[in-house]
């Protein structure tokens, strides 16, 4: 990769760097990611990157932030049904997780409290409160919903086997019930499964509101 002369601009900025970082992680995985590889990808000296991003950690932050910005709520405000808002938010979140499976672990452990997330939470809790749900339940909802989303999507988008079943190969004789249930888990990772599980969680929130 031929480098430019010393003073000429490479057109680097934080956004371009973050985008390239996401692409690189998507292609090669988190393990292989590094400042030098990213610099190669950008046709740039490694140290040039440091003029826009503080270090590798900040680089990963920028990447996960960029991915999070891709989330589209999809006209969530058009509805005032809180469950519908929750479902659309969840599906938007799932879509990015599937689009960037190798960056998603970064999103989970890093960019909490991102503006995007905060805004989504605000929309959801506002709708729930307007619907008259108890504050206790409304306040707990983000924790349970994003807890489920992060954990589930992490399991379903991981680097594991092609279809990472919740329970992989196992001794069928020692675990008869699991074995008997296995046929029902044929759609692991599908939208249908995601919807079923999500509805279970939302149902829990609903009955907590009714019985609390």
């Amino acid at each position: 990769m031929a480098r430019r002369a010393r003073g000429t601009s490479a057109g680097l900025d934080r956004h371009r760097i973050a985008t390239a970082a996401v692409a690189l992680v998507d292609r090669d995985g988190l393990e292989r990611f590094g400042v030098r590889r990213l610099a190669d990808e950008l046709g740039v000296d490694p140290m040039s990157i440091y003029h826009h991003v503080k270090g590798k950690a900040a680089l990963l932050d920028a990447a996960s932030e960029a991915v999070l910005h891709e989330v589209e709520i999809g006209a969530a405000e058009a509805s005032d049904d809180w469950a519908e808002i929750a479902r659309r938010t969840a599906h938007g979140y799932r879509a990015v997780a599937c689009r960037h499976p190798r960056v998603f672990p970064l999103v989970v452990v890093r960019a909490r409290t991102s503006p995007v997330t905060v805004a989504a939470v605000e929309r959801l809790v506002t709708a729930m409160r307007a619907a008259g749900l108890p504050d206790r339940v409304v306040a707990d909802t983000p924790g349970v919903l994003f807890g489920f989303l992060n954990g589930h999507l992490l399991a379903r988008t991981g680097e594991g086997p092609e279809v990472p079943a919740p329970v992989g190969e196992f001794d069928a004789a020692a675990h008869p019930t699991t074995a008997a249930l296995a046929p029902l888990l044929s759609d692991v990772g599908s939208v249908a499964e995601f919807d079923r599980l999500l509805d279970t969680v939302l149902a829990g929130i609903r009955v907590s509101a009714a019985s609390g």
Copy 2:
């Protein structure tokens, strides 16, 4: 650290190595973990470790496996109430996550399908089936339960601020509902909060069974 002569035994084995790895990650964090540091800790040459564990990745696998083995179900079999079994399993899992907060991310992304997990799942689904819950719901339960557990505990045991609120500092004016709810989130990270959220999830499973 004085090394022993070349042929003398260092008393290394997989278990001792895994234990030391867990201790090292607990103390210094994942970022600082490395084969050389672990070797120093064990008073041993780095390469000696490679005769018992294949490489760094396998080392991390061993560490997360060791942590997972610490989970105690706590007489879960004494009860035949599936919800009680789920609660005890969840609390055992949480206890480990709190005891080893810096190893837990490893447990989440790696040791899925560990024997310990598989056995716990088998106990749970067997009890649920015996209680007459629909197979569809029983089969989906591990996914929703461990999805929630992994995601939630990851958020609550992360390296973030002292009290990693689900929504950190934010513009109170721009997010009035979240701000209004903030006082209700004073117990973030506590067992009480964990119990509330867990009960919400279990309630969802229960009503799915009733209405499915």
